[in-house]
């Protein structure tokens, strides 16, 4: 018996060929954009090798690779800068992409592995491995990082789904904050009981690329690659999941499998990266957000761009950290927090975002 009606909007009829051309043009534009981002990444890598406490001329960098003569500068390039840059690349990919996957799976645009307490979970298990079990090699305690991520993810999701309405962004965020606090607290407790671990770990705690040899990067490389591969595999299903569980099922997406694969992907990415460099926040939050604004809601493109742009942000933050307080250094985790926090505050104040 309802008699109010709004006039139906007129739908413009587009000829089929024009639409196909439109899609192709968009795809071409997106591909071009990706190529531009890759170029930027290459440039940033170069800067990361060249800039620092001591700026090194590009010629010297070239020589360090191809005409090695064991000068001071050249050894800085090979022994310090290149490992650092490679690690930054991998960490940027890992943190960025894990944030993008988390945002897709939880349908929460303001989430990353730090906010949801996932890094804290990895951190707790690593602190346990180092402090209580006495493990000292990354290859060993990295597995604890994986376990910690899986543990934290499960708990946060379970806790955030409590009550009517399921896992809304606000509930997940609060669950992540609360559980993150528990896990940080427990990790702190372990560190207090094991003062030697405290000393070793307080330098790892901030999230830093400094002082890690190349084998750190090579150790996590296969896991990061596996995580990236898994994420790209489920990207398409995640597009359907974004519409809501019921709708996704009618579209044929297998939600359970998708969720499991996405979880494993986050586990590998965030677990490996946190174990290697410590917890770094905001990269996983900001990069997918900006990327989404550029390429739209298709997860395949979002993931692709995030893989390239994540390291751009992380390496830039690392470079800034090296330059801003010369001859000292700001850890990259500190810089990302100081860039990311104001950006996050600005975002949440804009009416559209806070309408969550």
């Amino acid at each position: 018996m309802v008699l109010t009606r709004t006039p139906a909007p007129a739908r413009p009829a587009a000829p089929a060929t024009a639409r196909a051309a439109g899609i192709a043009a968009t795809r071409a534009r997106r591909g071009a954009g990706l190529a531009v981002c890759l170029a930027v990444l290459a440039l940033v890598c170069l800067l990361s090798i060249a800039l620092g406490t001591r700026n090194i001329a590009l010629g010297t960098v070239w020589d360090a690779f191809f005409h090695y003569t064991d000068t001071d500068d050249q050894s800085i390039v090979r022994d310090l800068r290149v490992p650092r840059t490679v690690l930054g690349l991998l960490a940027g990919v890992a943190f960025g992409l894990s944030g993008a996957v988390i945002q897709a799976v939880t349908r929460n645009p303001l989430a990353d592995t730090q906010i949801l307490g996932i890094n804290a979970g990895a951190g707790l298990f690593v602190v346990f491995a180092v402090g209580v079990l006495g493990l000292t090699s990354l290859a060993q305690y990295m597995w604890f990082g994986f376990a910690g991520v899986a543990f934290a993810l499960t708990l946060v999701y379970l806790l955030g789904s409590a009550g009517r309405g399921g896992a809304t962004p606000i509930r997940l965020t609060l669950a992540g904050v609360a559980l993150g606090a528990v896990m940080d607290g427990l990790a702190g407790g372990i560190r207090l009981i094991r003062p030697r671990a405290f000393d070793y770990l307080r330098f790892w705690d901030v999230g830093s690329l400094a002082g890690r040899p190349l084998d750190v990067a090579t150790t996590i490389l296969p896991f990061v690659l596996a995580g990236v591969a898994l994420a790209l595999i489920v990207a398409r299903s995640l597009n359907a999941v974004a519409l809501g569980d019921d709708l996704a099922r009618t579209l044929g997406a297998r939600i359970g499998v998708t969720r499991v694969l996405a979880t494993v992907s986050v586990m590998l990415l965030a677990g490996a990266a946190t174990a290697a460099v410590g917890p770094i926040g905001f990269v996983g939050l900001m990069v997918p957000h900006v990327v989404r604004w550029i390429v739209g809601p298709d997860q395949r493109w979002i993931f692709g761009y995030t893989v390239v742009c994540g390291p751009v942000l992380l390496l830039l933050a690392d470079i800034v950290g090296r330059l801003v307080v010369r001859p000292g250094e700001l850890r990259v985790g500190v810089v990302t927090a100081f860039i990311g926090a104001p950006v996050l505050i600005w975002w949440v104040r804009r009416a559209r975002v806070s309408a969550l």
Binding site: V2, T4, A351
Partner: protein, 264 residues
Amino acid sequence: MSLAARDITIGYDRRTISEHLDLVVPESRITAIIGPNACGKSTLLRALSRLLKPSAGEVLLDGRDIHARPAKEVARRLGLLPQSSIAPDGITVAELVARGRFPHQKLIRQWSAGDEAAVVAAMAATGVTELSGELVDTLSGGQRQRVWVAMVLAQQTPIVLLDEPTTFLDIAHQIELLELCVRLNREQGTTMVAVLHDLNQAARYADHLVVMKAGAIVAQGDPRTVLTAELVQDVFALGCRIIDDPETHTPMVIPRSAVGQRVG
């Protein structure tokens, strides 16, 4: 107890919904505000109820600016049934209705005999007395809405505003609620203003109809004079003809049909 809006401009954030709106709510009458989606009817109601402050103009309660009066005093004269309210987990019907007495209570006088009487009367009027000790969570949508109405009635205000009170109710409960409003109006002279979706219900039960479109009031008055086929076409983009409701002799809108009579 008079309620009027004088030359108000209202909106949210940077979006203006209505400008230079004037409305005098007829005392001791039932007024229904109708209009298509997003025409500003809820916004107007919120402005009348002190929830939304106009950026220009004033809303006058008994001749004085409603925002200049203390909040509790306004709540003793004006009751509002909002569109969405949250019943805390584990609250019983009587406890929820009793919260409606807050405007009349003080720190040392938290539960007077008058409070008790008001709650009993409100629950009786809405027919929820048997549900008095039940948990609100366990009630159906219709029952829950009646409990919220009872809470507003317990406030014992001479003016009651209702924001889309019939959503979530099935047809029998919709009619029941509207007839309850008419009874209250006739027995106690309560001024009522309701935002309604259904044109026919509005025409049937309202003494005064206010029709809005795109933030402006395009017509107001007795439903019999206001509701015409031209108006419905203009405001709702719906072709119709108006007949006389055989039950109440108020206008009844019959939409025109493109598909015509059903075969068979």
